[in-house]
Amino acid sequence: MKALCWEGVNKLSVENVPDPELRNDQDMIVRLVAGTTCGSDLHLIGGYIPAMRAGDVIGHEFIGEVVETGPGVRRHKVGDRVVVCSFVGCGRCWYCANDLWSLCDNTNTNPGIGQALFGYETGGIFGYSHAMGGLRGSHAEYVRVPFADYGAFPVPEGIDDTSALFVSDSVPTGWMGADLAGVKPGDVVAVWGCGAVGQMAARAAMLLGAERVISIDRIPERLAMTEQHVGSETIDYTSTDVAAELRERTGGRGPDVCIEAVGMEAHSDGPMHLYDQAKQQLRLQTDRPTAVRQAIHACRKAGTVFVLGVFAGAVDKFPLGAVINKGLTLRGAQQHGQRYIPMLLERMAAGELKTSHLATHTVSLEEAPKAYDMFKRKTDGCVRAVIRPGA
């Protein structure tokens, strides 16, 4: 079959690879209907997460049709249309049982790298480097889904493929940020990043009752899209002092909750950017934490900062002083999709959550390397490119 493979730093190509096989009783094979580019892929493609091997299939956010089920699969049958959570959870370890699915103990078949980097490994995720299990990604004609009863969800009739696709990863990620940051009625919430993840975090904050939501980015069409489709206020961080603007918009208090949805390749105009970039390129720090620093600085006293953006290793000039002196709560997580997906599908069916505007481009697998280039450079108004391997 054809698949989109990582062949080296900034090198993607469509290759012929062997079809995936059922390996365990609880596996199933899904034929891809659609997948999408995610900001996380950029970190892998650019070599910022160095545990990739030439030939690895990328992609982790997808919807498809069940074509084969292992004998241990109970909840799905051939022909079902399913959206699959990007993280794989066994459903029965302590973490899964406590709804902390991305931390599953039993789904990372390469625990050594995560243990060396983080102390304990994360669960497995599709197409996301050998540190996260080395599973094949979903930008292919077929993908194997382990623990299918827990990770795949039937899509209700009324929800179209493109809308449902994002329930795999970006929607639950955004929802989790607002939920686990404890957003409640009356809060003012600031969200860094107007990519799919940031937009969905802003929308979740609203649905959880936030009084005001302020989204921050620099790309004009993303700011406009967020205002129009999500309904939050925006700040262009290149045109103003973000902390000062947030202070005045929040009655001098600062946002109650700050959600960072930018990640380790954050951009800035300041001198710190050159410093961070140089250090990152020399591998003296692995990540550029511009937006995290700003969120910590802008947050109100005793507020909460939630880091949704992916960081892989060590950062420099971390404002620990602000965390302790302002009594902040700092949290982060990879997404616990299985916890939210059924509820999110219901909200979509009820019209509370819209995602189709995120799909600014639709391409075939052959066009995927070019689409990733566009997504990386944010050209042509690209927010998410939807990849249809069958097209």
């Binding site: 995936p20 609880q26 066994c90 029965r92 060396a116 080395g134 623990f147």
Partner: protein, 154 residues
């Protein structure tokens, strides 16, 4: 230079292992050879007992000591295992660990598998056939993927 930062945790783990492989301290003459433990989200009765460890640990037969006890705070059951014959300093040295020759690594793997079988009913296998092809960096990564930790950590 390029790999400097990423290599750090691995080197640190290696150093820690080397240190622990030195002659054992006074307090416990097997200090460098502590019990290897996992917590299983099951009741002690489901996990087994010292005389009857769960699969695949049962295949070590008389070679291991086994301890089963409830984990605190409703977290399931702690299953601990130790080789009756402590591995020599050489067998648990950093090079032996990287080569996958420390006998405790095999015990750790069996513990991980016992946990997966009891909790999830199967040991999840990597995808097959692989789609990767050999590059020098990839090979090194493959080695580290299984053997980077210390004291039988995978």
């Amino acid at each position: 230079m390029k790999k400097a930062l990423w290599a750090l945790p691995v080197v640190a783990a290696g150093v820690a292992v080397a240190r622990k492989a030195l002659p054992a301290g006074r307090a416990d003459d097997r200090a460098g050879d502590r019990w290897l433990t996992v917590t299983i989200n099951r009741s002690p009765a489901e996990v087994g007992s010292a005389g009857k460890p769960p699969a695949p640990l049962d295949r070590f037969g008389e070679d291991i000591d086994v301890r089963v006890r409830p984990a605190p705070g409703d977290r399931g059951t702690e299953l601990a295992v130790r080789l009756k014959e402590p591995p020599s300093a050489l067998a648990s040295s950093a090079p032996a660990r990287l080569a996958g020759e420390d006998p405790r690594q095999e015990v750790r793997l069996a513990l991980r598998e016992a946990k997966a079988l009891l909790e999830a009913g199967e040991v999840m296998l990597p995808d097959s056939p692989p789609t990767t092809h050999a590059t020098p960096g990839g090979k090194a990564l493959g080695l580290l993927a299984r053997r980077s930790g210390g004291e039988g950590v995978l």
